[in-house]
Structure formats: C-alpha cells, structure tokens
C-alpha cells in the first residue's frame, strides 16, 4: 500500500516479497518497465528522468488508493525511478494483490496506463544524435482514456 520514488535500481525480488508478505491474496500481478535501447526510430543510449517530487508522490498515492478501491486490492505497490538510467535498467514497477486474478491484472494495467500520462515525470533521451525530450504518445493517452468511464461512475 505504498509508493516509492527512488534513484536506485528497482530490486524486483525484494519488492515482490514485500508486496506478498506472509499472507498472499490468491492473485498477484506485477509489471516492470525497463529502459529500451530504442524508441520509435531512434537509438537510445541513456535516459534521464526529471520529476516533480511532491506532486509525483501525491499522484501515485492517489492512483494506488484508487486502484485498491476499484479492484478490491489487499496490497499494492508503485515504485518509480528518477535520475539518469542506462539501457536495460528498471524504470518503473507496479504490483497488485487481490482475491481474483482479473482484478490483480487489471489493477496493474490501470496503474501503468494512468501513471504514464498523469504522474509528473519527463523522459529525456540521449542517443548518438544528441539529447531530446520524449514527446507524449497518443497511444498512451488512448490507453489512459479507456479507464475514464469507470472513473466518473
């Protein structure tokens, strides 16, 4: 039931152990995102993640609580890195524990889709041609929009 913003790499095994604890629910879903060596057509050698710490903490806390309520989670966790990240390093990890598998898996999808567009982080890619800010993606906005209907209910 917590958020962590950290500069260090994500220890997936430790996060999993903490998420599940002594009494797991029936269903545990996780998602972990890694730095890719390419984006669209561009080669990426390094990624810098700028963030707005106070707002990121607040948005992700609210996102986790919203997921917990919406999908009846017994546990959830969101970990997001900031700073300079190399290719193949972890960027983000989410986890959800629920009584039913559909809820645990949907919660991870909801958390990922929402944080992509709602959490104040900005990616800056470094490649052979120099640095550039990553533009927001229409596909991310569309994925985010799938959850809107439910939000207004």
């Amino acid at each position: 039931m917590s958020v962590c913003l950290q500069a260090e790499s994500i220890d997936v095994a430790a996060e999993y152990a903490r998420l599940v604890g002594d009494t797991p629910g029936a269903a545990v879903a996780t998602f972990t995102g890694y730095v890719r060596d390419h984006t669209d057509q561009q080669v990426v050698t390094e990624l810098a993640l700028e963030h707005y710490p106070e707002m990121a903490q607040k948005v992700l806390d609210e996102l986790g609580r919203s997921a917990a309520q919406r999908f009846q989670l017994s546990q959830w966790r969101i970990v997001h890195r900031y700073g300079v990240l190399r290719v193949s390093e972890t960027i983000v990890g989410v986890g959800a524990v629920a009584d039913h598998r559909g809820d645990a898996m949907s919660a991870c999808e909801f958390m990922m889709d929402s944080l992509k567009t709602d959490a104040p982080f900005w990616k800056r890619e470094q490649g052979p041609a120099g640095e550039q800010w990553v533009a927001s993606r229409d596909s991310d906005n569309q994925r985010r929009a799938r959850w809107q209907l439910g939000e207004t209910q």
Binding site: G33, L49, E50, H51, Y52, E54, M55, A56, K58, V59, H80, I91, V92, M112, L115, K116, T117, D118, A119, P120, F121, W122, K123, R124, W133, V134, A135, S136, R137
Partner: protein
Amino acid sequence: MSITIKLFSALREALGESEFELDLVEIEHAPNELDVAVIKAALSKRGAAWRDALNQPNLVHALNHKVVFTDALVAEGDELAFFPPMTGG
C-alpha cells in the same frame, strides 16, 4: 502575498528557471478573479520566450500538485507549476 511558481522539463530549460516566488500584489486582476489564466498572462509579459512557452496548446498547469484548468483560483502560498505533457513510466 506571493505564490511559488515551478517549471519542469522543456519549460524549465527554455526559461532558465525552475522555481521562484511571484508577488501577487503586482498582478492586475479583477476582484476575486485571480486565476491561473491571470498568472499566465502576467508571466507572458516577461518576454517572447515566456509568452511562447506558456501558450503552447498542450501546456499542463498544476496547482498545489493537482492538474487544473486555467480558471482555477490562485491564493497566497499556493504552488503553481507549468510543464509539458507527462511522460513517465
């Protein structure tokens, strides 16, 4: 009588500032209508770079860590941030 302005990502770079206090006394506005749009208009007077940066169509405004529309009212002590669309995850 001031608020904190924060700038992130490409805005921070373009404007060369990340955080400053803005004195509300100097800002012209109708009574009870000091909103985000008024702050944007006031900051836009600082020059072309500010005007361009603050008037891009996809600019996001966050008041006290919450995304708002430009009609959100601003009060002393608030923190108002401007930034491009978020690209986390």
